[in-house]
């Protein structure tokens, strides 16, 4: 479906923006999956919110509205990637199509999916060994790349990479054991 540059009758931009904010984790994951860059994804997310607040079509069902938003997000992400990093930085069309399909499946299940996952992650982080927790904390509060993370931790890049891998594996298996998220973690 093509993103329409119009305001049609019905719900209204603020309702569409509400919907996007409720499903923000899905849209952010989609933007990160396309750009491979959190900063750029956040910038695009804000741009998409501004676009939605101005031009979201009225009178669409939630799933149709989210499809419009994904389409708008995809086009913005591709344009930004091409402008900043060249055509090679954009994922192939067939990959994008699969990513959109997977996000649509999440959206259909509503925001409870990511909220439950986040709550589970919070609980599972508390159960991680302190050294792994500190490493993840450094990674995500200061948003350091692997190289800079290794420098900040005063360790070898490969060692840090391997520790991060271990931390994420443990987190994932812990989250998968939680009743609310059981079976969601691995597709």
């Amino acid at each position: 479906m093509e993103a329409r540059d119009s305001l049609s009758a019905g719900g209204g931009p603020s309702d569409a923006l509400d919907l996007v904010l409720r499903q923000r984790a899905h849209l952010m994951a989609f933007l990160v999956s396309m750009t491979r860059d959190f900063g750029m994804a956040e910038e695009l997310f804000r741009e998409v919110c501004a676009l939605v607040s101005e031009r979201a079509p009225r009178g669409l069902a939630d799933n149709e509205c989210l499809r419009w938003v994904r389409e708008a997000a995809r086009r913005r992400a591709l344009a930004t990637l091409r402008a900043r990093a060249g055509a090679g930085a954009a994922p192939p069309e067939r990959v994008i199509a699969e990513l959109e399909r997977a996000v649509a499946a999440w959206d259909e299940r509503g925001s409870e999916v990511w909220k439950a996952r986040k709550a589970a992650l919070r609980e599972c982080l508390a159960a991680l060994p302190i050294s792994l927790l500190k490493l993840l904390e450094l990674r995500y509060t200061r948003d350091l790349s692997l190289q800079r993370l290794a420098e900040a931790a005063g360790r070898d890049v490969e060692a840090v990479r391997s520790e991060l891998r271990r931390a994420r594996r443990e987190l994932e298996s812990c989250v998968a054991r939680r009743p609310a998220t059981n079976g969601e973690a691995r597709t």
Binding site: L7, G12, G88, V95, R117, K118, L146
Partner: protein, 272 residues
């Protein structure tokens, strides 16, 4: 598919997230060049995404897995950022104390205030300008002005609200300048193209966009401000209440009224 192959796929996918192309040496407009470990994962510009590790799964499953890890990345970042914000709010010196220290020339006090409010201030500017780069410039100017005029701030504990107001004022000024420039350019173009000008869709679209902007701009300041805070900045009711000095019921009432006014303005237009 074997477990080691899947683990290797995961490791490579996480590498993509841990080594964003923008962090690679020489990255930028010239291309997503890379070195070291990352080079094995993402080839240089022009050769596209390296999908060979994805062969461990069928494409739909590999894409779903990639998205899954991206979601986990997003959620982990949210969790850690939220915890950092709570720690900062609970443990750090108050705004009033930091303002007092900054006025007294204590090194680092102003930097802490900037770190505490930079997100809010950039967001305030962005909500007006819808342009990240200009928003950052405006935010920087707002903090500079705040630093210069700090002694004029009577209620030191309201530093956040104060600097937010400065940023919005500056952003609106930039927006007006832009609008004037656009209008001058448009007048020039229209004059220049008069013989070929035809009424059509692009003009209607521009008009609609202008109308939404104009409808928002015509709302009384208190309603425009609360809509921007809630829907463009994504602020919670509690945060809005603190910024505007309102309790939750008042925030709720004002927001409801603001939405009704905006809807009314847009409906009137669509019926015309």
């Amino acid at each position: 598919m074997s477990a080691p192959a899947l683990e290797e796929l995961d490791a490579r996918l996480w590498d993509l997230l841990d080594c964003p192309w923008s962090a690679a040496p020489g990255s930028g407009k010239s291309g997503a060049r890379s070195s070291g470990r990352r080079a094995a994962v993402v080839p240089s510009e022009g050769s596209g995404w390296d999908l060979s590790p994805w062969a461990a799964l069928e494409l739909p499953d590999a894409a779903a897995r990639w998205l899954e890890l991206c979601l986990q990345h997003v959620l982990l970042r949210e969790v850690f950022q939220e915890e950092a914000a709570v720690r900062e709010g609970a443990g750090g010196p108050s705004d009033a104390e930091l303002v007092r220290q900054a006025e007294g020339g204590v090194p680092g006090a102003l930097e802490v205030l900037v770190a505490r409010y930079s997100g809010l201030v950039i967001g305030a500017a962005y909500s007006v300008l819808a342009d990240a780069e200009s928003a950052r410039d405006v935010a920087q100017e707002a903090f500079l002005e705040a630093a210069r005029t700090l002694p004029l701030l009577r209620e030191r504990e309201k530093f956040g609200h104060w600097v937010y107001g400065i940023a919005r004022r500056k952003a609106i000024y930039v927006l007006r300048k832009r609008k004037k420039r656009r209008e001058a350019e448009a007048d020039f173009v229209t004059d220049a193209e008069q013989p070929q000008a035809e009424p059509g869709q692009p003009l209607a679209r521009r008009e609609r966009r202008e109308h939404v902007r104009a409808s928002l701009a015509q709302l009384p300041e208190i309603y425009r401000e609360i809509l921007v805070l809630k829907y463009l900045d994504g602020r919670s009711y509690g945060e809005i209440g603190r910024l505007l000095g309102l309790n939750q019921t008042a925030v709720d009432k004002r927001l409801t009224r603001a939405k009704a006014l905006l809807r009314e303005a847009l409906r009137t237009w669509s019926e015309e």
